[in-house]
């Protein structure tokens, strides 16, 4: 089965499907729901990091009998189920982190609700053994990758480089905070909210309420105002809380977070610490890598094991090693749980290796470009997990294009003698889709359905959150079916109406789910056998084209040995950053930024570039201005006034281009695009700042005050 180029829709910048609603203000986000007779919900949270609840008192002057008050005891199963079942939806007795939910209140008057929240006093017996640093608390998960004889290979090296790299937490700052509205009809719960994985919420709610039948839970995704991983696991808790209050109230409830609550309580990017030891020959041939990658998992397991896994799987960078050992460890602390954030561990480990590569080139007296080139992975090379690369990474071509775009050699030559100016680069890869056997376990399904009016509906649980799902799937289906793209409709993800095509995460939507949409379109095309859709529908009724995930041939991952092909495909890229340091304040300004990527076939250039540019800006923010200040494990700068994301005046001109190297098993040849933009800016900016200051740095965010202190 294949549709050969030239394509009618693939590769075309078809306009964003929901664009008109978004520019007219007509899109409905969760907070835009108007529901009669609805109560407002509020969460009462812990003010300590670890301890036992001794007493909860309800102060005077509040008409408590008007309030709905819910506790852990009201939940049939007090758990937010994800990978493990260690996280309660509400604290029963023991608090594990600040801002942990303890009580829920609901009232029709939002103002009175705030007064009531302030009138509640919780007394604790504080446990002073709380852990706040990586390594202080218990080990949550550990992975090991070993290939070759590491110590013997180090003994053969002329040069051994060692450094410790650190990255800070990062807050997502989707402009729309978390929120849900919900109501029960009999034993069935209806929830609408801002989230990226309807079926994660479905499973968590069904489990917490002990419901037997999948059909008792209906989760709808409202237009979602940004997510970036921040609405992957966290919304499950908000949904359970909303449903619990609604059940106790017997009325609809809305729980919409304000900015400060959202920033304080929601998940963030895992802080990391990477100890690297790299051995090479004096002429720059890499031989041995010893990588000890550690992350702060926070108080509960949530997604940390898989973040850790993706982290070490990307920790060896786009290079060939004779021997490599990568150890990953996730440690518990008494911080609110860290969670998914675009890149999912890979930006942290790639930050370490790519910062080290530039520092090591400097140590060797080599050009950072040529040093990297000498060691790039090529087709057939074997990764530390034993996976032989089937596709050609084309790294030389990607790097050439990046250097040309940035006019790198001239620019570098011009900048080199000028104090406080620098140019830095990074080269990186990102695995498409779930790690290891993840896609096999997900067993995603999609459906295309005929309609009486001759149109076709795409039914998937993959969500639109700005990146373009609603537009690219109709492009793919229309291409196969030979329909007008406007005749392929996208159904709003709702668990009662769409099959489970898996979560909208892991750079999987266009490539993995897009492939399923492509196959489902072929399935439908086969059934139609040339009959126009309206005619076929009139005779046979609604007809489905369906597809279920099948691993590409030869793709195998051994969970027990932690070896095999971790990803079916990799995207690749180069970033170049040009910076200026203010000599008085030491504030780094990124002046220009370039990126060239191979994301396979580019389905929609405008949407793809837009997504990549936004990811680069987030990466620049992570490296420069985004400083999560923690106190007893919890973020204290929980406002947009003191947690700074790039504004128009901070974000540099960003130049992006692609090299298209299609992947046979991705939707029309596409590979992952969502996360790779986050991988390169951290080290590229750090390397540029290191050049500007004439000394190697090892930590992001780069904080001007700290540079002044040094």
């Amino acid at each position: 089965m294949s549709i050969a180029p030239p394509y009618r829709y693939i590769g075309q910048s078809i306009l964003r499907r929901e664009g008109r609603e978004k520019v007219t203000g007509a899109s409905r986000y969760v907070d835009d729901n108007v529901i009669p007779d609805c109560l407002h919900g509020k969460t009462i949270r812990s003010t300590i990091a670890k301890g036992r609840i001794v007493d909860i008192s309800f102060g005077e002057g509040i008409p408590w009998d008007e309030f709905i008050i819910a506790t852990a005891k009201d939940l049939p199963r007090n758990v937010v189920v994800l990978i493990e079942q260690d996280q309660p939806a509400l604290v029963e007795e023991f608090v594990q982190h600040k801002h942990e939910p303890i009580l829920l209140l609901a009232h029709k008057d939002a103002g009175l609700l705030e007064d009531a929240a302030r009138a509640i006093t919780i007394t604790y017996e504080e446990d002073k053994s709380a852990a706040f640093e990586i390594g202080e608390g218990s080990l949550q998960k550990e992975y090991l990758i070993e290939e070759g004889d590491i110590e013997k290979t180090f003994a053969e090296c002329d040069v051994v480089f060692e450094e410790v790299y650190r990255t800070g937490a990062q807050e997502h700052v989707y402009i729309e905070p978390n929120g849900f509205v919900g109501w029960w009809d009999g034993d069935n719960i209806h929830l609408r909210g801002s989230h990226q994985c309807p079926y994660y919420v479905h499973k968590a709610v069904k489990t917490a309420f002990g419901l037997k039948d999948d059909r008792q839970v209906d989760i709808l995704q409202e237009t979602t105002g940004g997510a970036f991983g921040g609405k992957e696991d966290f919304p499950s808790t908000v949904a359970i809380h909303t449903a619990l209050l609604a059940r106790k109230a017997g009325r609809p409830v809305r729980m919409i977070y304000d900015r400060a609550e959202d920033m304080a309580c929601s998940t963030k990017r895992h802080p990391s610490e990477t100890r690297l030891r790299i051995g090479c020959t004096k002429d720059g041939k890499l031989k041995a890598l010893d990588c000890d990658f550690r992350i702060d998992g926070g108080a509960y397991i949530t997604l940390s094991p898989v973040v850790l896994s993706r982290g070490i799987l990307h920790g060896s960078g786009p290079y060939k090693w004779e021997a490599a050992r990568l150890v990953g460890k996730s440690y518990a602390t008494n911080s609110p749980p860290y969670g998914a954030f675009r890149g999912f561990g890979a930006p942290q480990s790639l930050f370490a290796i790519e910062s080290a590569m530039s520092a090591l080139a400097e140590k060797l007296g080599m050009c950072p470009v040529e040093f990297r080139r000498k060691n790039f992975l090529k087709k057939g090379d074997v990764l530390p997990t034993g996976q032989a690369l089937e596709g050609d990474p084309m790294l030389d071509a990607i790097v050439d294009k990046g250097l040309q775009m940035a006019d790198y050699w001239n620019r570098a030559k011009k900048i080199a003698p000028i104090p406080n100016r620098g140019i830095g680069l990074s080269v990186f890869l990102h695995g498409t889709g779930f790690t290891g056997s993840g896609e096999v376990y997900l067993a995603s399904r999609v459906a295309l359905a005929t309609r009486g009016d001759g149109k076709v509906e795409v039914r998937v649980s993959s969500t639109e959150m700005g990146q373009g799902t609603e537009t690219i799937f109709p492009q793919i289906a229309a291409e196969v079916l030979g329909l007008e793209v406007d005749d392929v409709l996208f159904v709003k993800p709702q668990t009662s109406k769409v099959p489970n095509s898996g979560p909208t995460v892991a750079s999987r939507t266009c490539s993995v789910v897009g492939r399923l949409v492509e196959r489902a379109a072929h399935d439908l095309k086969g059934k139609l056998n040339g009959t126009p859709i309206a005619d076929y529908h009139a005779t046979h009724g609604e007809t489905l084209g369906e597809a279920k995930y099948q691993a590409p041939p030869g793709l195998y991952w051994d969970d027990e040995k932690y070896r095999g092909s971790a990803y079916g495909a990799y995207s690749w890229g180069i970033n170049i950053a040009e910076v200026t340091i203010d000599p008085v304040t030491m504030h780094p300004t990124v002046e220009n930024f370039w990126g060239v990527y191979d994301i396979g076939t580019v389905i929609n250039p405008t949407l793809a570039k837009g997504q990549v540019e936004g990811g680069i800006a987030q990466g620049i923010g992570w490296a420069t201005c985004e400083n999560v200040v923690l106190e007893e494990g919890a973020m204290i700068n929980t406002h947009m006034t003191n947690y700074i994301i790039p504004t128009t005046m901070d974000a540099p001109p960003i130049m992006v281009d692609f090299i298209e190297n299609p992947y046979e098993y991705g939707g029309f040849g596409s590979k992952g695009v969502g996360e790779i933009p986050m991988d390169g800016p951290g080290p590229a900016v750090l390397n540029a700042v290191s050049m500007a200051l004439r000394r190697p740095l090892n930590k992001i965010p780069i904080i001007a005050e700290e540079l002044l202190d040094d």
Binding site: I175, G226, K609, A617, M640, A651, I654
Partner: protein, 156 residues
């Protein structure tokens, strides 16, 4: 009960019944007059709630309702007239200026202010939009959108 506060919203007189000190943002949203005006931070940082008040771009979360009494308020809902999109709206669709869309209404209103009074932002579009945060786009496509609309207005 206090007297309702009357203002002109997108050219139409309306009475608002919220408390006079309610931020204009919440009054407009709670009274279902402008669901398109968005909350992002509530403290004048993100710009998602930007509206035009007597022609000036303001963050409606920072303006008490009483201050808008008798004023002309323009919101995103007023841009599209009789189904005809404003050139800025067209441009945001064509150039990919809207992604998740939550910052878009505020971004459009700041851009509209810039279109009408470009002299207020001598540094150009980048300066004109410095009060509006976007987390999706990295701003490049938003600049292109605004520049396209400016080009069209100039008949290019």
């Amino acid at each position: 009960m206090t007297e309702p506060i009357r203002l002109k919203l997108n050219g139409k007189e309306v009475d608002l019944h919220s408390h006079p000190m309610t931020p204009l943002l919440h009054a407009l949203r709670n009274e279902e007059l402008s669901p398109g005006t968005k909350y992002g931070c509530g403290e004048g940082e993100c710009g998602a709630c930007t509206v035009l008040l007597n022609g000036d771009a303001v963050m409606s979360c920072m303006v008490p309702l009483c201050q808008a009494e008798g004023a002309e308020v323009e919101t995103v809902e007023g841009l599209c007239i009789d189904g005809e999109l404003h050139p800025l709206q067209e441009a945001f669709i064509c150039e990919g200026g809207a992604q998740c869309g939550i910052c878009t209404p505020g971004m459009l209103m700041s851009a509209l202010y810039f279109l009408r009074q470009p002299e207020k932002a001598p540094g150009g579009v980048r300066e004109a939009l410095e009060g509006n945060l976007c987390r999706c786009t990295g701003y490049t496509r938003i600049y292109q959108s605004v520049e396209r609309a400016i080009g069209e207005a100039a008949g290019k």
